[in-house]
Symmetry: C2
Subunit: 177 residues, 2 copies
C-alpha cells in the first residue's frame, strides 16, 4: 500500500469523479470522469472529463485531462504520492500515462471489457517488466459508474433511431407520406 492510503475515502472521491462524468454526459461525450488526489492531505489536485468530441482530440480522455491539469498546476511531471480516481477502467493510453506520471495508486469504478488496460484486455499499470507499478482498487461505486455509461449509450441509440426514422420519412416521395 502507498503512503496515506488510509486517509482517503474512496467513495467520496469517486463521487467527485462521477460528477465529472456527468459533465461529459451533458455535453454529449461518453461519460467518464476523473479526479487526482494528494494522498498526504486528501486535496483534490485536478479534475477531468472526457472531451474527445468537443475538442476533436482522441487523447482528451478524462484521465489525460486530469494528469495534464495537475502537471500544469504543479509544474512537475512526477505525480508521485497521488491517487487517480476514474469512473471506468482506463484504456492503454491512459494507463500508460499513469505509469509515465509515476502515480502511486489507481481507483476505478466499472470494468471496461473492450479496451480496459488494467485487467480486462492488458495489464499496463503493474507489469513486472515496467519500472513503475501502480496499486489498484477496482469496483468503487461500480454500479453508479456503469449505469451512467449504459444510460448514455441507450440515449444515443434512441437518438440514432429517431434520426434514421426522420431521414427515411424525408426521403419518401410526397405520394407515399
Amino acid at each position: 500500500m502507498c503512503k496515506g492510503d488510509k486517509m482517503l475515502d474512496d467513495e467520496k472521491y469517486m463521487t467527485l469523479a462521477l460528477k465529472e462524468a456527468e459533465k461529459a454526459y451533458l455535453m454529449g461525450e461518453v461519460p467518464i470522469g476523473a479526479v487526482l488526489v494528494d494522498n498526504e492531505d486528501g486535496t483534490v489536485v485536478s479534475r477531468g472529463h472526457n472531451l474527445r468530441e468537443t475538442r476533436q482530440d482522441a487523447t482528451a480522455h478524462a484521465e489525460m485531462e486530469a494528469i495534464r491539469a495537475a502537471t500544469a498546476a504543479l509544474q512537475r511531471w512526477r505525480l508521485t504520492g497521488m491517487t487517480l480516481y476514474v469512473t471506468i477502467e482506463p484504456c492503454a493510453m491512459c494507463a500508460g500515462a499513469l505509469v509515465n506520471s509515476r502515480i502511486d495508486r489507481l481507483v476505478y469504478g466499472s470494468h471496461e471489457s473492450k479496451f480496459g488496460a488494467v485487467e480486462s484486455v492488458f495489464n499496463v499499470v503493474s507489469h513486472r517488466l515496467l519500472n513503475h507499478r501502480i496499486a489498484v482498487t477496482a469496483g468503487v461505486l461500480e454500479e453508479e459508474c456503469r449505469r451512467l455509461m449504459q444510460d448514455f449509450f441507450k440515449m444515443r441509440r434512441q437518438q440514432n433511431r429517431a434520426k434514421k426514422k426522420a431521414s427515411f420519412q424525408e426521403a419518401l416521395p410526397d405520394s407515399m407520406e
Copy 2:
C-alpha cells in the same frame, strides 16, 4: 496493408523523424522524434519530439505531440489514412493513443525493451480484442535511431560523473585539496 503504403518512402520519413529526435537531443531531452504522414499523397501532416522535461509533462512524448498537432490542424480526432513514423518503439501511452486516433500504420526505428508496447513488453496496437488494429513496420534506420539514444545516455552519464566529482571536490576541507 493500408491504402497508399507503396507510395511512402519509409527511410525518407524516418530521416525526418530523426531530425525531430535531434531537436530533442539539443534540448537535453531523451532524443525521440516522430512525423505523421498522409498515406494518400505523402504530405507531412505534423511533427513532434519529446518535450517531457521542457514542458514538465509526462504525456509530452514525440508521438503525442505529433498526434495532438495533427488533430489541432485538421480539427478532427480520426487520423485514418495516416502513418506515424517514430524513431523508437512507442510506450503503452503512445501506442494506445495511436489506436484511439485510428491511425492506419506505424513505422518505427529501434526496439525499446524496457517499455515498448508494440512487441517488446505489450502488443497494444494490434491486439485481437481491440476495435482498431494498426499495421506495423519495425527496424527502419534502426541503427541511426538507436545510436542517437546511446549517445544521449552516454553523454548524460559523463555529465553526471563530472557533476559528482565537482561536488565531491567542493565538499573536501581546504587541507585536503
